[in-house]
Structure formats: C-alpha cells, structure tokens
Point group: C2
Chain length 336, copies 2
DNA sequence: GTGAAAGCGCTAACAC
DNA sequence: GTGTTAGCGCTTTCAC
C-alpha cells in the first residue's frame, strides 16, 4: 500500500505538504503542488479512509436509513437513495445504507462509532420512535418527512398539504363539485405517517374553501381493493365527477374500475394522481398529477446536511412546492 | 467521547484487555470479562470505527454497487439491497451504497482507500467493463450475475438456464406444442446481460428436447409494446397455447392482451412468469411462476464474501436452482 | 511557503 | 490470564 510518506519522499517534500495539497487548507506554491500531484498519480496514492477519519474526526460518510414497510412505493425509495448517493458523491461523501429494522439503536451505533458524520432518515412517522435518539445524537441529521413535533430537527419533504390543495384546486377550477380522495393503505394512516394526513388536510381545507363536497378513502394497495372502493364510492356518491389518487400501486386499477363502471375518463370523471412523474406519464391514459420530487428531496437533504456539517444554519423545515402537470385524465365537469 | 482507555481505567484493566474482551481473540477470565462489559455499558463505549480500521486493516464495511439502468425491475434491486444489508449486519458488517455510475474507478476508490473490505456488484454484463478492475483489486468481490468469462471471479445468481428449461418443461408437460418466450426489453439483450440470454438458451434447448415449437421475443417494458407483441404473436402463431413471460412490468398487460384477443387464461392459453413470488401471487390471476430469489441471492453473496474474507475457498459459481410454483395461469393444453 | 512532530483511538505482538 | 507498547496512516499545530 502506498502511503503519504511514500508520496512525500517521491516528490521531495514533507508528508504535511502532501496533506495540504490534498486538502487545500494552506497555500502551496504552484511548483510544489504540481510535483506532489504528479507523484500522487504516478504512485496511485489513495489516502487511507480510516487513518484520515481518525486524524480528522471526519469519516466523509453519511448514513441513509431506508424504510422497509408495506404501503410505501419501492421505486420512489430507490429514487431517493440514488439521488442521495449521487449528491453525496458530488460533495466527496459516501453513503452507508441502513434499514429501518436497525431502529434507533442502529443510529446510535453508526453515529457514536464515528462511522458516519451525519444521518438522513426516510419515512419519518408523526411520532417516530427514533426522534429522541436523533435529538440527542451529537451528529447532524435531516429527516425526509415531517414528524408532529419538529423542534430541534431539520426536515424536508414535498409540501403534501399544498399538494392536496393543488389537486382539489385543479378539480374545483374545472367545475367539479363532488370529489373524492383515494389515499394510502389504512396502515399508513394508522401509524401516523405525516404525508398521508397532510395531503388529506390540504384536500379537505381546499374543498371547504371552494365549497366542494369532498370525502376521503384509504385504500389497500391491491387492484381488488381499488375496484371495491370505486364501486362503493360511486354507490355512495353517484354524482361524483372527480378523484385524487394518492396511492401509486392502484392508479391503473382505479382508472380501469371507473371505466368498467361506465364512467369515461376524463369526460365523465376526472382523475388527478399524486405520484412520480414517470408513472403519470407512462400510464395508459397519461394522468394529470402532482409529482413526488424524489430526486429534489434527496438532493436537498444532502445539501442541508452538508451545510450543517459546515456549521451553517439551515431552515428547520423545507417544504418543496407541489408541481401539478395537467395531462389527459382531467377535463371540465359536464355542465350540470 | 469515551475511549478504550477510559473503559480500561474504569474497569481496572489495561486497554488491550478491553480490546480482547471485545474481539474474543484471547481468553479472558469470567470475572474480568464481566467487569469490562459492565464498564462498557455504563460508560456507553463504542469503538471508533476509523481507529479500529486503521489498526486492524479491516473496516467491516462492504460495498454494494446497484444498477441504475432501464429495463431492470426496481423492486427486485431493493430486495437484493435489503437482503445484503440485513445479512451483512448479522456478520457485523455495514454496507456502503455505490451506484453503477461510479464505474470501475469508483470500485478502485473505495477499495484502495480501505473504505471497504470487499465488494458486491449487481447487474453484471456478459463483458462487463468493471471485470478487469475487480480482478486486479486486492480485495475480494462477489458478482450477482454471470459474465461471459468467470475466470478469477466469484459469481452467484438464479440458474436462469434451468429456469428457462423449467418453464418450458412445465408447459410441455401440460401438452403445449407451440409456445413463446416474451423476454426483457431489447436493450437488455443488446448490452449482453447474461440472465436474459441464459433464460433463452434454456428455454430453446428444452423446446428442442421436448419437440416443442418455440419462439423468443424481446419486449419493451410498456403495456403498449406488450399488446402489440401479443397481437403479432397470435398472428404469426395462431396455434400458440403457452407463453413464458420474463419481463415484470408487462406481466399484467400480456395476460390482458391475450384475454382481449379472445384467449381465455388458462383454458386457451397458459402463462408462466419468471418474477418475484409476490408479483405472481398478487396478480389479478395468480400466475404460475419461477421465483426470482432476490433474498437468497443477496444473502448468498454476503456469505460468500464473508468466507473469502476469512480466507476460505469458495465456489467460483453458485447457481441457485429454480423453484417453479404452479398457480392459476397454466392448464393442460386442450386436446387437439 | 514548508517541515517536524505530536497525536487521533485502536490492535496485536511481545513480555510476563 | 493480563499488561506494555509500538505502530496503523493521516491531520494539524507549532515553528521557521
């Protein structure tokens, strides 16, 4: 293994000079820098990560905790993860992958052992059991999602409340007066996942403002459940003309079920989805949707963390504004 | 930060004794062990990962390189990743997440800097550009998937050849004489992804043996492409009575398209899928399938790596036998 | 602008 | 069965 002293000898300088060339923490003459860099590439030198972490008390590694639960859309999790890794690399950091399963003890383990400098936690519940741990850890963290109490934390996510409002606003603007929200599976609500509740709040609040008749319906992530729910919905609300679907796996099934029930989309019934853009674009009938900006959230989380590691102040809450794209699944309500 | 010398002082022993209690690398009296362990938990001591890596030249971290390409089924990638992380943790290791994007240079970076002890590489191509790097690296690696030339490598995967054979064998056993394979998107074949070719080989070889008329058809991962392909298939092979589908995203669309074309499944047409069991089970019509054993492959990869790190010899190739589960999508061919 | 040297916290040889 | 101690390879003060 080639070490910093080998490089120093080869370049005819001291080890500290090599270190400073690498870190840029003090000025180096152009001539010296060049010689050192030539030696580095000639010898194929790579600083030993452990030695560096020990001496500098920085590992340049971030922890990313991914969820493993039912009711969350896996591809979105991967998008987050890839975005986090890519952004971290741009900041010269690596990413350690942890699963939810490790719990708060796992967070303490990687933080206290100095394996990681900072943590990103996905799929945060309203009263997440990991929050006390995150607050007492001496390392910065960023949550993707919002717990009930954000005191002392840094959170980032799509503004789901605004997303719910935007969906309802779009339908209301098209003249729809009776609409429904087909939401996440019941367990997502039961365990108090912020995004589901917040979407509902925004949806209902906007319905109140617009004088729209609105109802909310959790839905299991199966086609059967979707069909049953659509039937019930049409039964209970025969004059329904619009729905918002916040449940990726059943998007297709919902549209199909309405069609099977004799409702043309969008002529008789408008559908707005809250889902990743690719899903909405590539649906059989391209869907009007509010995007889940996984890439931006992941990138934003890393950038907040980098700022915190640099000792900068960052906002406690970062809410990304919803972006609604009108596609083929919504149309003005038939004159009634 | 509490360090090993703090624990030693607190327990009235030397630092090395604490170290040996932790590593179990020499025998310790019961009495001493207890005192040390009490001190550890009382003080909340965690060994510093960097210091440990520096002194022992073991980081206890594995690299996992995940694919980012089109034509691969994202949930399966997540299953691999979770299985790798879970198994690694059982062996007291953590997992560093790398993306394909980093290329072979990324592999060298984490290996040469001693950030990781070993590497797992997913989605290996037949002539993968990272192979030369992996061969020269001084750290062990395991590939998920098989390149054309496995000399000097350790590989593990489902035995796709046997899977192709099993699917055809199942259909042939039911009396089907004209069958098709609906495969991965064309780009998967073009870039020489081993699993797609191997499935095809097994499928065709078994067809030869059973005297079955078989054809192979790559298919884009969209419902439209699936519909078009099914129409063409029925046009060119009007007496087709069985298909194997090795393309997760279009499973549903394929079944629907056959039904739309007036073929009842399984009465007129049998369908065998190669896909994760959950997908086959939860399809609208539960599908006879050969499982993609993501969990076993991930676990196996980590265990091979642990053996290699322990200096044990491991088989160069590990092929997991296919497991076919008959469900509602296959039936005997109508007497013809 | 550069060098010398003191650690960073741990492991493992060596000694008893 | 336990203690002493010399590194592991780097960063960073202190000195010039």
């Amino acid at each position: 293994m080639v070490k910093i002293s080998d490089v120093a000898r080869h370049a005819g300088v001291s080890p500290s000079t090599v270190s400073y060339v690498l870190s840029g923490k003090r000025s180096i003459s152009e001539e010296t820098r060049r010689r050192v860099q030539d030696s580095i590439s000639e010898l194929g030198y790579r600083p030993h990560a452990g030695a560096r972490a020990l001496a500098s008390s920085r590992s340049n590694v971030l922890a990313l905790v991914v969820p493993l639960r039912t009711g969350i859309h896996v591809p979105v999790v991967m998008q987050f993860a890839v975005s986090v890794v890519t952004t971290a690399r741009r900041h010269d950091h690596d990413v350690l992958l942890l699963t939810q399963e490790e719990g708060d003890e796992g967070l303490r383990r990687v933080a206290d052992s100095a394996l990681v400098d900072a943590l990103i936690v996905m799929d945060v519940q309203l009263r997440d059991e990991r929050l006390p741990m995150l607050r007492t850890l001496d390392r910065p963290s960023v949550l993707i999602g919002f717990p009930a109490e954000t005191e002392g934390l840094t959170c980032i996510d799509l503004d789901f409340r605004a997303a719910g409002e935007a969906c309802l606003g779009h339908l209301a603007g098209l003249g729809h007066r009776v609409v429904g929200l087909i939401g996440s599976p019941p367990e997502v609500y039961e365990r108090g996942t912020g995004f589901a509740e917040r979407t509902t709040e925004g949806f209902l609040a906007a319905a109140g403002e617009h004088g729209v008749d609105a109802s909310v319906h959790p839905c299991e992530a199966t086609a059967d459940a979707a069909r049953a729910l659509v039937e019930r919905l049409l039964d209970e609300h025969p004059d329904l003309t619009g729905v918002v679907v916040h449940n990726e796996p059943v998007l297709d099934a919902v549209v199909k079920a309405f069609q099977a029930a004799g409702r043309r989309v969008p002529e008789d019934l408008s559908v707005v989805a809250i889902c990743p853009d690719e899903l909405a674009e590539h649906a059989e009938l391209p869907l009007t949707s509010v995007a889940i900006p996984a890439e931006e959230v992941g990138r934003g989380a890393v950038e907040l963390l980098m700022d915190k590691l640099d000792g900068k102040d960052v906002p406690a809450a970062t809410l990304l504004p919803p972006r609604l794209t009108a596609r083929a699944s919504t149309a003005p309500a038939a004159a009634g």
